[in-house]
């Protein structure tokens, strides 16, 4: 058998690089044992690989220069959150926070499950330049009818122009108890965005006072009213956030 078998050039290379299956490897080894010149070549090639590693592997142990680590940790972090959050929602069929659990808990400690969703939804869609909303404010009536119907509650988009925020529109999202949730997106003249997240909760959930979660400069104001949970995200000023929560609370209590 070995008399007729001739190892190809490609097989010799793959042997050198350890890219052969065990069977192929044995076959090549038998061939090399009978062809010392080829064996010498193969061994020289392996030595080349060893030299390369000896010369350059130390680079792997060096601390990375700051300009390389900063590329992926600061400037684009928002984008990463966005991608990860979209993956978490789209691919896991609405099991939110799975990929992001560690991250989101780090920045926004959520005591109510819906607040975590509200935070993720804000991170995802407030960063969206082209499609921040599913239905725009130009179809406000339709938007409210649609979301009210899906959530099974009459919803109102609070008027926050007094705080400098214009309604952009809204979207439908999966809620935490298998139901639906709605997000209203607002934008200020300077482009900063605020979102109001409304989620259907289990019946009989106790009412809560306005609560604020704060971590790393991000704030989230939330409250529960009967079987709806509300969260406002995106405003840094606590006082304004509280005022907006009051306006929202009143708007929703019509």
């Amino acid at each position: 058998m070995t008399d007729t078998y001739v190892a190809t050039e490609a097989e010799i290379q793959a042997y050198v690089d350890g890219q052969l299956s065990p069977t192929q490897r044995t076959q090549v080894e038998v061939y090399l044992a009978e062809h010392p010149e080829v064996a010498e070549q193969a061994s020289a090639y392996q030595k080349q690989n060893q030299l390369l590693h000896g010369l350059f592997d130390h680079v792997l142990d060096e601390p990375l220069p700051e300009r390389l680590t900063s590329v992926t940790t600061t400037k684009f972090q928002r984008k990463v959150y966005r991608i990860a959050a979209v993956l978490a929602w789209v691919m896991l069929g609405g099991v939110s926070g799975f990929l992001l659990r560690g991250e989101v808990n780090h920045t926004l400690v959520a005591t109510e499950p819906f607040t975590e969703r509200a935070a993720i939804a804000h991170v995802v869609y407030s960063a969206e330049m082209l499609h921040p909303v599913e239905v725009g404010v130009d179809q406000e009536k339709h938007l409210l009818q649609w979301l009210s119907k899906r959530l099974g509650h009459p919803l109102h988009a609070p008027d926050l122009t007094g705080f400098g925020y214009q309604l952009m529109g809204g979207r439908l999202l999966p809620g935490d108890t298998g139901g639906a949730a709605a997000q209203f997106m607002y934008q200020s003249k300077t482009g900063s965005r605020l979102s109001l997240y409304v989620s259907v909760r289990d019946k009989g959930t106790a009412q809560t006072a306005f609560r604020i979660e704060e971590q790393d400069g991000q704030q989230l104001m939330y409250w529960v009213d009967d079987d709806l949970g509300f969260a406002l995200v995106g405003e840094k000023d606590r006082k304004r956030l509280l005022e907006m929560a009051r306006v929202t609370y009143q708007a929703m209590s019509y």
Binding site: V16, Q19, Q41, Q48, L55, E62, L64, T72, V80, H106
Partner: protein, 164 residues
């Protein structure tokens, strides 16, 4: 802290860039450009495909199109004071000969030697990075390795200083 999917590939990209350019500052420029370009194009990256090969592809294209060739592989490492006879000295001489031999390869050959020999990309990954058929990668690799072997043996190209 967010762990960006690129993070684990940065040391390898950097090792390759340093080996390829032999200039740390140019190498870090190349890695940085690669990461920034990668982040910009990340939406085009298909989930489930090979991120490492994708990043190396970006780096290779940037290298081909953007890195000034005049600076590369022209400076010789300054001769070091080697005490002959010791095992370490022997190794250092071999390493230096090897670096010089590598320098005598064509850029195409060097790229392929580094991607496969150093970064241990598979032949398919390398074919993807270089946008070549796998067969071409294999034959180019074989030629490059043989040339390197002959150079190390002092059998081809300009004579290298032999110590043994």
């Amino acid at each position: 802290m967010a762990h960006h999917p690129f993070t684990e590939h940065i040391p390898g990209l950097r090792r390759y860039a340093i080996a390829l350019l032999r200039d740390r500052s140019l190498a870090d420029d190349l890695v940085q450009d690669t990461l920034e370009r990668g982040l910009k194009k990340f939406s085009l990256f298909q989930v489930g495909s090979d991120l490492r090969a994708w990043l190396f592809t970006i780096m290779h294209n940037l290298f081909i199109n953007q890195v000034p060739r005049t600076k590369l592989w022209q400076q010789n490492t300054p001769p070091e004071d080697i005490h002959s006879g010791s095992e370490l000295a022997e190794e250092m001489v071999t390493a230096r000969d090897f670096m010089q031999a590598l320098q005598l390869l064509t850029e195409e050959q060097r790229v392929i030697i580094l991607l496969i020999g150093l970064e241990q990309l598979s032949y398919e990954q390398t074919a993807q990075v270089l946008d070549l058929p796998v067969g071409t990668v294999m034959s180019r690799l074989a030629r490059a390795r043989e040339r390197l072997r002959l150079l190390m043996n002092g059998e081809a190209g300009p004579q290298l200083r032999r110590v043994k």
